[in-house]
């Protein structure tokens, strides 16, 4: 680097403002090569993406104007892409502005300006990890953020069977879908009853499966138990069979008139057939039992792993202090196990909240309830499914999906914040 005379008249603020068009600020800083490269890239960016910006923003505001020609769904997609590109461009502009300002300051103070080559080498060294993360981030944007935004946008339109693209263009309805959900009686009643069962289902089924897993894990981990490996393998088996196979078999076994549980167990023993599929109460019991059966092996495996890492010294020390079995469990085993597994247990709750497979495959949300369109065991996600794919209520389904998302997110944040492992991580 060579010595450079300070340039008193050079204005960092002006340099930064000029870089609103990336490159001009750099040219002003007399970085000729860098400036022209940036200008070229900017021009190319605008040239290549002009159409997307043009259509995208127009589409996002109008959702199309000609019935049968403009496809609102495509326009929304282009609009979201345009927003993505705008955010990307804004970040780039901000960075070049910052760069122009910094270089201009160096000019004023007469510091040596690193050449483009040096700068490139420097940013390669510093930016390498970011470069490696980039494909992952891009994929995330495409596979997660894009559909999410798309769903959110749909919730504010009037997309239903009688107003569907491509024949009709959609229009913005603001919060109308959410208002309908809260005010139209049939929607409100159904929503409240489905939501309350969803919560009961999530809490009871998940808690029971965790409790059972903990109980079994502690027992199997006891020193006096022999053939530990065999027992563990057997207990993990339900996890190994694809769950939809198990669920369909259970659905057949629980059938009131023809299933094995009634015809081979309850009728011969108690002379009484339990209405597993026709009474809401018993259907719910059956569902919870099946979920406990399907879900405990994973938690069991988790707990077994953690239990083996609990040091024997602690129990010995506790023995010295005269602690009882219950005390040892409560103050050593339980905190240790829960501390390590809390995030995964929370995932179990979230998973059951959206456990579409079990509800749909077992009884399609049935049995029906008088005067209500959702079945008595429909949870929010299975209700959304029938709204979207059986009744073509696309925008209402999107609105309920947003509510589901918010509920799960709130629950997860609340639990993560309370769980010890999260605090530790900070």
């Amino acid at each position: 680097m060579k010595e450079v005379a300070p340039m008193k008249n050079h204005n960092p603020k002006l340099a930064s403002m000029l870089s609103i068009v990336p490159g001009i600020g750099q040219l002003y800083n007399r970085q000729w090569l860098k400036g022209s490269l940036l200008l070229l890239v900017t021009a190319a960016f605008i040239f290549v993406f002009y159409d997307i910006f043009n259509m995208g923003y127009w589409g996002l505001f109008t959702l199309g104007t000609l019935d049968g020609v403009d496809d609102s769904r495509v326009l929304i997609g282009q609009g979201i892409v345009a927003v993505f590109l705008t955010v990307f461009a804004a970040i780039m502009v901000f960075l070049t502005m910052k760069d122009a300002r910094r270089v201009a300051k160096m000019r004023v103070e007469g510091e040596a300006i690193p050449s483009l080559r040096e700068r490139t080498k420097h940013s390669w060294d510093k930016g390498f990890p970011y470069l490696l993360v980039l494909p992952g981030l891009a994929l995330l944007l495409l596979a997660v953020v894009f559909p999410l935004l798309y769903m959110i946008v749909l919730a504010f339109t009037d997309y239903n069977l009688f107003n569907s693209p491509p024949r009709n263009v959609l229009s913005w309805v603001g919060f109308q879908n959410f208002i309908d959900l809260a005010t139209i009686p049939i929607w409100r009643q159904t929503f409240i009853s489905v939501l309350s069962w969803t919560i009961v289902w999530t809490v009871v089924a998940t808690t029971l499966q965790i409790a059972l897993a903990l109980f079994l894990a502690v027992i199997v981990n006891d020193k006096r138990i022999k053939y530990k490996k065999l027992i563990r393998t057997v207990l993990i088996l339900p996890w190994a069979v694809p769950s939809f196979v198990t669920i369909l078999i259970f659905a057949a076994m629980f059938n009131d008139g023809f299933g094995a549980i009634n015809s081979d167990l309850f009728v011969p023993l108690f002379d009484f057939a339990v209405p597993w599929l026709s009474d809401p109460f018993y259907t719910r019991i059956a569902l919870i039992m099946i979920q406990v059966w399907l879900g405990f092996p994973f938690v069991f495996a988790l707990f077994t792993g953690i239990l083996q890492s609990v040091s024997d010294d602690w129990y010995e020390a506790a023995d010295m202090d005269g602690a009882s079995r219950v005390q040892k469990f409560r103050f050593i085993t339980l905190p240790h196990v829960l501390f390590a597994t809390a995030p995964l247990l929370i995932m179990q709750y979230a998973g059951n909240f959206n456990n579409f497979n079990l509800i749909y495959l077992f009884n399609e949300g049935g049995p029906p309830v008088r005067g209500q369109s959702a079945g008595s065991t429909d949870i929010l996600i299975s209700w959304v499914y029938s709204l979207a794919f059986e009744n073509s209520q696309y925008s209402m389904a999107a609105a309920i999906s947003i509510i589901i998302g918010i509920l799960v997110a709130l629950f997860a944040v609340f639990q993560f914040r309370r769980s010890a492992s999260f605090k530790e991580d900070r």
Partner: protein, 418 residues
């Protein structure tokens, strides 16, 4: 910026944004169709054939015949019928759809609302020869949306080892239930999936119930006849069958088929899609018959028509229509039946298998499902109503409540909200 500047600049941005957008001179004219002439004859037409080996074989042969006659190549893509609509709705406007696609008549309303199918105009000669009612079943709001290819409905299968003669009246049907049902041993006189409205419909209709009132081919979706006196009477018959134990609850297709194949059921209400499996297992003791009569009138079963529809965004709408008509003429229908063994929608086709006789007879009394989109609000609630009726709830109360629910759902669907 000062406070007053915000709204003004926002307005400015909005004005700029809505001022730009696509150039659309002449876009609407491009969608006009021309009649089929030698000049606009395409080199090839592209069709989506239901993803079924036997259907593909049939349509390959039919496609070759068409090429021999007109010189237009028929390109076939196997595509499951159930997935076609979703793909059509997204691909067709972008120009990625086929020229012809294949859908059942109960989707016609929804297809028309989405603007996916072209309005087909047939000459009187072209219209002749299709089974009665099939063209009406494909007409929605006065526009024909498809050319009928295959029809289906259910009839009675019976096992001659149990029943020497099929029941011809509903009283005989009930007598069979009384004589042969032993629920403890899983033996039944007759079975039907009564919780599915598809199979329960004949009972409601036989005594005067109806789904939507009809006036010259148009449906009045505000007039639902599923809670009138006739429907209630039909519902009570179903309820009696359940209470007497002739019909078990929670019967599904798997259980019904299993029991019938075991030879422990005298007769079942089922469709021609089961002919192959039943025939293999029961052999010569399997026979078919139309549904029994009620007060001297044949019971009307629900039916469906599968049809070739022309993509409304196709560039060769007229030639695609020609192909659709060709693929469903008597000769092609015969090829279709010999491969696929589904009943074609042509009156002249010879079905050389006595197991089809019961279905052909029943087809004369079949009621092709209404094609208005509102009908999708009927199946779910009526299925639920059938469950309540089977559980012994008051029939009139249940049906009245269900009709109210259907009316609410139709309103919520967005019908008439435009």
């Amino acid at each position: 910026m000062k406070k007053w500047q915000y709204p003004i600049s926002t307005m400015a941005v909005l004005a700029v944004l809505s001022a730009c957008g696509p150039d659309r001179e002449g876009v609407m004219e491009e969608l006009e169709t021309e009649p089929a002439t030698e000049e606009n004859k395409p080199e090839s037409l592209h069709i989506w054939v239901n993803d079924d080996e036997r259907e593909l074989v049939a349509y390959r042969e039919i496609g070759e015949n068409f090429e021999r006659e007109t010189g237009i190549e028929v390109r076939i893509t196997p595509f499951s019928m159930g997935d076609q609509l979703e793909a059509m709705s997204l691909d067709a406007p972008a120009g990625g759809g086929p020229d012809l696609f294949y859908q059942p008549n109960d989707m016609v309303g929804s297809i028309t609302l989405q603007g996916l199918a072209a309005d087909i105009e047939l000459t009187p000669e072209q219209e002749a020869g299709y089974l009665d009612g099939t063209l009406d079943a494909l007409t929605y709001e006065g526009e024909l949306a498809g050319v009928p290819a295959a029809v289906e409905t259910y009839a009675l299968f019976y096992n001659t080892e149990i029943l020497s003669e099929p029941p011809t009246t509903i009283e005989e049907l009930e007598a069979i239930g009384e004589e042969y049902t032993n629920a403890g041993a899983n033996e039944f006189g007759f079975l039907l999936e009564s919780k599915e409205m598809y199979f329960a419909y004949p009972f409601y209709e036989a005594y005067g119930g109806y789904i939507f009132a009809e006036d010259g081919g148009d449906y009045d979706t505000l007039d639902i006849g599923l809670a009138n006196d006739g429907a209630v009477e039909g519902g009570e018959v179903l309820q009696r069958f359940h209470q007497e134990g002739y019909l078990p609850q929670n019967l599904n297709a798997d259980i019904l088929n299993g029991l019938f194949l075991d030879g422990s059921v005298g007769a079942v209400f089922s469709g021609p899609w089961n002919i192959a499996e039943y025939g293999e297992n029961l052999g010569d003791s399997l026979k078919t018959a139309p549904l029994p009569t009620v007060n001297g009138n044949p019971m009307r079963s629900l039916g469906g028509v599968k049809a070739w529809m022309v993509n409304g965004y196709s560039e060769h709408i007229s030639w695609a229509t020609e192909l659709a008509v060709f693929m469903t003429n008597d000769e092609s229908a015969q090829i279709f039946f010999e491969n696929k063994r589904e009943i074609p929608a042509r009156a002249e086709v010879n079905l050389d298998d006595e197991l089809y006789e019961g279905f052909q007879e029943q087809l004369e009394h079949a009621y092709f499902m209404p094609n208005v989109p509102e009908v999708s609000a009927v199946w779910g609630p009526m299925g639920d109503a059938n469950v309540f009726i089977s559980q012994g709830h008051d029939v009139r109360e249940v049906l009245e409540e269900t009709v109210e629910l259907i009316e609410d759902e139709i309103q919520i669907m967005g019908a008439g909200r435009e």
